[in-house]
C-alpha cells in the first residue's frame, strides 16, 4: 500500500482516522476501568474530596457482604435458567419459521417485537399484567396460582423475572438461529434426504452440529445479558419483595450510589467482572471445540 512521505504526514493521517475513536474509547472505557481498580482500594463516600487508601479492606468487605453473595447465587440461578429457556424457545421458534410456512416474515416480526422496547417499559407492562390482569383472571376463573400477585411472593417474583426475560430475548436469539439455519448448506441436506435420512435424524446429525457457532453466539449473548440484568429488575420487581429478587447488578448500584460506599461497590463490581469474564471465556473456549465444518 502507498504510504505518505514524512513522519508528520503519517501521524496526521493516523490522528484523523483513529484519533476520535481511540480518544473516546480510552477516556470512557480504559481510564475509568483502571481508575476503578484503584478505587477498590479506597473508601470514597461520594462526597468527600479526598479519599484514603484502605488496602484490601474492600475485598474483605466483599467476602463478608452476605447480601452480595446471596444475590450473586440468585443471579447464577437466574442466568442458568434463562439461558437454557431462552435458547430452547428461540431455537424452536427459528426452526418453526424457516419451514416455508406462509407469512413467515410476519411471525418473525412479531416474535422480535419485545426487543425493540427497553427493559424499563417492558418491566412496567408486565408489572401491570402480574398485579392486575393475572390476579383478575385468577379470581374470575378460580385459579389459585394467580389469585395473589406473583410480585408479592419472593419465589414467584423470581419466576416472573425469568418469564419476562425469556419472552424478551427469545425473539432476538431466534433471529440469530434463523441466520444459522439458513447457512446450513442445501446440498448436504438434499444428499441426506436422498440417502433416506428422517427429519429428526437430519436435525440431530447435520443441522445441530453445523449450528454450533450460532449456539456459541446466543449463549454468550444471553449469559452476558443475564448477568448484567438491571432495567427489568428495577421496573418489574425493584428487587422486592424484601430484596428477595435483587440481582447482583442492582446490588452493586445500591451499594455504591444509595449506600454511598463507592469503594465496596466498585470492589463488588470488579469481583463480578472477574467471575463473569471467566465464565463467558470458558463457555466460548469449550464450545469452540464443538465446531465442525460442513
Amino acid at each position: 500500500m502507498l504510504t505518505e512521505k514524512g513522519l508528520w504526514a503519517r501521524l496526521r493521517t493516523r490522528l484523523i482516522f483513529t484519533g476520535p475513536t481511540l480518544f473516546a474509547f480510552g477516556t470512557v472505557m480504559i481510564i475509568p476501568f483502571l481508575y476503578g481498580i484503584y478505587l477498590t482500594f479506597t473508601n470514597w463516600d461520594g462526597i468527600a474530596v479526598e479519599q484514603s487508601l484502605v488496602g484490601w479492606d474492600n475485598y474483605i468487605g466483599v467476602f463478608k457482604d452476605t447480601v452480595f453473595w446471596k444475590s450473586f447465587v440468585m443471579t447464577l440461578e437466574y442466568v442458568f435458567i434463562t439461558v437454557v429457556l431462552t435458547n430452547a424457545v428461540a431455537f424452536l421458534l427459528a426452526y418453526a419459521v424457516t419451514r416455508g410456512i406462509k407469512a413467515q416474515g410476519l411471525f418473525r416480526a412479531g416474535f422480535f417485537l419485545p426487543n425493540l422496547v427497553g427493559g424499563i417499559v417492558l418491566g412496567f407492562i408486565w408489572q401491570f399484567i402480574f398485579n392486575q390482569v393475572f390476579v383478575f383472571a385468577g379470581q374470575k376463573m378460580n385459579l389459585p396460582l394467580f389469585q395473589a400477585s406473583w410480585l408479592a411472593d419472593p419465589d414467584k417474583a423470581f419466576w416472573a423475572l425469568v418469564i419476562v426475560t425469556v419472552w424478551q430475548y427469545a425473539g432476538y436469539m431466534m433471529v440469530i438461529y434463523i441466520a444459522g439455519l439458513m447457512n446450513v448448506p442445501k446440498d448436504v441436506m438434499e444428499a441426506a434426504s436422498i440417502d433416506g435420512a428422517s427429519n429428526r435424524r437430519m436435525l440431530g446429525r447435520i443441522v445441530l452440529p453445523l449450528m454450533v457457532p450460532s449456539f456459541i453466539v446466543c449463549i454468550f449473548l444471553s449469559l452476558q445479558r443475564g448477568f448484567m440484568v438491571y432495567d427489568l429488575n428495577v421496573s418489574l420487581t425493584s428487587g422486592g419483595p424484601f430484596k428477595s429478587t435483587e440481582m447482583v447488578s442492582m446490588h452493586v448500584y445500591e451499594q455504591a450510589f444509595l449506600a454511598r460506599d463507592y469503594g465496596l461497590g466498585q470492589a463488588e463490581a470488579f469481583v463480578l467482572f472477574i467471575l463473569v469474564a471467566t465464565i463467558t471465556l470458558l463457555q466460548v473456549y469449550f464450545s469452540k471445540k464443538l465446531e465442525v465444518e460442513a
Partner: protein, 276 residues
C-alpha cells in the same frame, strides 16, 4: 391420504405458531386496550375492551412526562451517537486493516478484549471522573460516552468486512490524486453501506432504550431521555393506571412506527451483526 395427513400436520404447526404469536404480542395489545380506559374500568376488568375512548389519559401523560422534550433528547442523542459511532469506527477499522502494523494489531486487540468488560465495572469511576470535571448532566457528554462504549463492537464488525474489500479500488483513487480522507469518503464509505446499516440498527436498539447510563449522567428533568422520563413518570404516578398505560404507549409509539417501515432492515441488521 399421505397428502391429507401432512396437510393436517401443517395446519397443526401453523396453529401452534399462531398461539405462540398471540402469547408474544398479547402484553402489547393489553397495554393499548387499557390505555384508552378509565382507571375504574382498568382495575375492575383489565381484560375487557374499552367502552369509550379516554383520550384524556394521553393528554395528561403527554403533559406530565414532558414528552416533547424527552422525545427530542432521545432523538438527538440516538441520531448523533449512532452516526458518530459508525463514522469514527469505520475510519478506525479501515486504518487498522490497511496499516496492519504491530501497534495497530495491539490497539485492535485491546478494543476487542474490552468488549468483555461489563458496564457495571466502569460506571462508578465514570461518574466520579466526569463528575469531578463537571461534565455530568449534559447530553453532549452522554453522546461522547456512547461513542466510547459503542466503538469496540463497531470497529470489530467493520474490521471483518473491510478485509474483504479489494485494495486496488483504493489504490486507483490514491493514484488519481485523491487524498487519504477523500479516498475514504468517496470510495470506502459507500462500499461499507450494508455494514453501516447493521451497525446503525444494533446501536439504535441499544442507545434508544438504554436506561442505566442516562440515569447516571443526566440528573435534571429537562435533560431526560424517553426511558428516563417513563421511569420517573411511572414512579411518581402509581395510582392512576389510565395515564400510566397511555404513557407507556407513547414511549412505544415511535419504535412501532419505525419498525413498521424498517422491519426488514432491523431483523437483517441483527442477523448480520451476529454472524461476524
Amino acid at each position: 391420504m399421505m397428502a391429507g395427513q401432512s396437510r393436517m400436520l401443517g395446519m397443526a404447526k401453523l396453529c401452534s405458531l399462531i398461539v405462540a404469536m398471540i402469547v408474544f404480542i398479547f402484553p402489547f395489545l393489553l397495554l393499548i386496550s387499557n390505555s384508552f380506559k378509565a382507571n375504574q374500568a382498568i382495575t375492575s376488568d383489565p381484560l375487557g375492551l374499552p367502552a369509550s375512548f379516554q383520550w384524556d389519559n394521553y393528554v395528561s401523560a403527554f403533559d406530565k412526562m414532558g414528552y416533547i422534550s424527552a422525545f427530542g433528547n432521545s432523538l438527538l442523542i440516538t441520531v448523533l451517537g449512532v452516526v458518530l459511532i459508525a463514522l469514527f469506527a469505520a475510519m478506525t477499522a479501515h486504518y487498522f486493516v490497511r496499516h496492519n502494523s504491530k501497534l495497530n494489531q495491539y490497539l485492535f486487540f485491546l478494543m476487542v478484549a474490552a468488549m468483555i468488560i461489563p458496564f457495571q465495572a466502569i460506571m462508578i469511576p465514570l461518574v466520579k471522573i466526569y463528575g469531578s470535571l463537571s461534565l455530568l448532566d449534559n447530553k453532549w457528554s452522554l453522546i461522547y460516552m456512547y461513542i466510547g462504549f459503542g466503538s469496540p463492537l463497531a470497529v470489530f464488525i467493520y474490521h471483518g468486512f473491510i478485509k474483504s474489500i479489494p485494495l486496488e479500488l483504493e489504490e486507483a483513487a490514491l493514484m488519481d490524486g485523491c487524498g487519504r480522507v477523500q479516498t475514504f469518503f468517496r470510495i470506502v464509505l459507500p462500499v461499507l453501506l450494508p455494514t453501516s446499516v447493521t451497525i446503525a440498527v444494533l446501536n439504535v436498539l441499544w442507545i434508544w432504550n438504554d436506561f442505566l447510563l442516562p440515569s447516571l449522567v443526566l440528573t435534571s428533568s429537562e435533560q431526560r431521555t424517553l426511558p428516563l422520563s417513563t421511569f420517573y413518570f411511572y414512579g411518581t404516578y402509581t395510582v392512576d393506571y389510565g395515564p400510566l398505560m397511555a404513557g407507556l404507549v407513547l414511549t412505544l409509539l415511535p419504535v412501532l412506527v419505525v419498525y413498521l417501515f424498517a422491519q426488514k432492515y432491523i431483523i437483517q441488521g441483527v442477523m448480520q451483526g451476529s454472524i461476524k
